[in-house]
């Protein structure tokens, strides 16, 4: 029994410290997350960073000699064009998700409170099915002898089947579909916070409904729009599944370039360098926007 005592005492003092010292409290609270992040995010990132300075051996093995060759290879009009094209795809996805998502988010935010959670549930419902399966469903719908063409032909609305699948239009449809919820949710958060009183005040002061929207609602929802844009734009830029499956793999996006280095060319160091560059660019973009907009809450949806 006597041997137990010092241990008991130490435990007691640890509990004591935890109770009294707020700094230790904080560390204890974040440590599970911090350890997780360290092992599964920071360490792999360091590995990628180190790898990006190595080079490829003849058989696709990694040769551990420090050099900048991979980054030199990236400074190339070809990869710049691909980056620009990816930016374009990301931007188009962003614009269309705002155009479709804004009215939807507005509708949900303005509907009675008890219905809102049901609507939000509907927005999230597709996530219960695997993303790839949903993309295949779109392929079924859009193909030449698919659902859309059959219906339109039967109704006599068109004479020849529309050739949508394996075109840039199909890619855009797939991207907008996939990323719409990521735009709607932050927009909803912003719109929901706007007090009815603010709009009523504007109306009382003589503003017409469209002016209320332009001068009050729209500016107040900008943080949500920016948060949504970041959530849509960044993953859309790196997306390669949709362009491959719905676009017929005829274009190369940044995501394809990186994946090909790992799965086709077996050039891991070059792939690592390309992903480092993409990471730095997105980080710069995010920092710029968050600084400029000065928000945070909406991103956490």
């Amino acid at each position: 029994m006597s041997t137990d005592k010092p241990e008991l005492k130490r435990k007691h003092s640890l509990a004591h410290i935890l109770r009294e010292n707020s700094a230790v409290q904080g560390i204890a609270l974040i440590s599970p997350t911090a350890i997780y992040m360290l092992i599964f995010i920071v360490l792999p990132m360091i590995l990628v960073a180190v790898l990006s300075f190595m080079s490829r051996g003849t058989y696709g093995n990694v040769v551990y000699e420090f050099n900048f060759q991979n980054y030199v290879r990236l400074v190339d009009p070809l990869y710049f064009r691909i980056l620009l094209y990816s930016l374009g795809v990301g931007l188009a996805t962003m614009v269309f998700t705002i155009m479709i998502g804004y009215p939807l988010a507005y509708f949900i935010a303005r509907s009675p409170a008890r219905k809102r959670s049901f609507y939000l549930f509907l927005i999230l419902l597709p996530f219960w099915t695997n993303f790839i399966i949903r993309i295949y469903a779109w392929i079924m719908i859009l193909r030449t002898q698919g659902l859309l063409n059959t219906v339109l032909l039967d109704l006599g609305l068109i004479q020849d089947p529309l050739e949508i699948l394996y075109t840039p239009t199909a890619v855009l449809i797939g991207m907008v579909y996939e990323f719409l919820p990521f735009m709607v949710l932050p927009l909803y958060t912003s719109l929901e916070k706007i007090e009815n009183a603010q709009m009523e005040a504007a109306a009382d002061l003589g503003a017409r409904p469209w002016k209320v929207f332009l001068r009050v609602t729209l500016p107040l929802s900008v943080p949500g729009m920016i948060a949504g844009s970041i959530l849509v734009f960044i993953p859309a830029m790196g997306m390669f599944v949709v362009p491959d499956l719905m676009g017929g793999a005829k274009t190369v996006l940044v995501g394809n370039v990186i994946r090909n280095q790992f799965l086709t060319s077996r050039d891991w160091p070059f792939g690592a360098a390309a992903s480092m560059l993409l990471m730095i660019l997105t980080l710069a973009f995010t920092l710029y926007y968050t600084r400029k907009a000065g928000f945070g809450e909406e991103l956490l949806v």
């Binding site: 490829r56 003849t58 058989y59 696709g60 093995n61 070809l78 064009r81 691909i82 094209y85 193909r143 030449t144 002898q145 050739e163 699948l165 394996y166 491959d244 017929g248 793999a249 005829k250 274009t251 190369v252 996006l253 394809n256 370039v257 090909n260 280095q261 790992f262 799965l263 086709t264 060319s265 077996r266 050039d267 891991w268 070059f270």
Partner: protein
Amino acid sequence: MNKYKLFALGLTLSILLAACGGGGPASDNVLNLYAWSEYVPQQLLDNFTEQTGIEVNYDTYSSNEELMAKLQAGASGYDVVIPSDYTVTIMINQGLLEPLDKTQISNFSNIFDTLTGLSYDPQNDYTVPWQWGTSCLVVDTGKVTRPITKWADLWDPEFEGKVVLLDDEREVLGMVLSVLGYDKNSTDPQQLEEAKQKLLELMPNVKLFDSDSPKTALLAGEVWLGQTWNGEAALAHMENPDIQYIIPEEGCTVWYDNLAIPKDAPHYNAAMQFINFVLDPQESILITYEFPYSNPNRAALELLQTEDPQAYDAYMNFPATNPSADDMSRLKMIQDVGDATALWDRIWTEVKGGE
């Protein structure tokens, strides 16, 4: 305090028990198979378990490169893998394969003599044939009325937006190189540049690139002709007899997939048992029924002939499963292009992302 102590004791004991009970004897009764998706019939695995008591875990990959990536990272825990020809060369060079104990493969004599001792493993020290096949020209004769005999026909303007190609730089650029009369494994920058220009001319005709299931677009009527794996063509042919498979004049790719054991496989004996089991004619037929690539097992095909003459005739009379000797003379393996891989990749990226 006592409650916690009891709990901790219980937990420790159960972990210890699990370690002894679960880990000990079970470890000899497991086989970790790492193979292409849609390639190993479940029935075959079940039969193996029934006969030997060894449970099989079947993990899948969709390219040789994925397989190499996993094995290069070290200690994968896999016992049997199915690499293709040029991959075997690389893996032997990197010391990633364990030599086979040939005394345990009594069924090896079932394999066609012509399919043993191929260039990538001349003595079959590391590999045993699993299936083989080609990637050639497929045509829907219900849609294309004029006869198609060569790759060069794909460039015909009448096929605008009607061609499917494999999403594979080695297959597609290799095909274009052979149309130009060059070696499909060329490392010459001049020839590769010419191939790039030639491929760019073909792009208006290309509806899509698809390696996973090129037959889908063909069966849906989305495309009329193109490049596909023989097994895919055989399956498409069963659904739509108009779909024909042609070994074109310029020749096309032949590939050989092999059973092999990775270095330091945890269950070497189970792996050897499995390899010998697969070569049994009765089991080998199962593969041909479910995934109609070409079967290297002579005894299996003889068995099929007596047991199911109709299936045998279908197999023998379709060029996708059984190319003629004349066709065979035009087939060529893909070889690793070593340091030129970066150049190949760049050209592929330029074609797809250039303009």
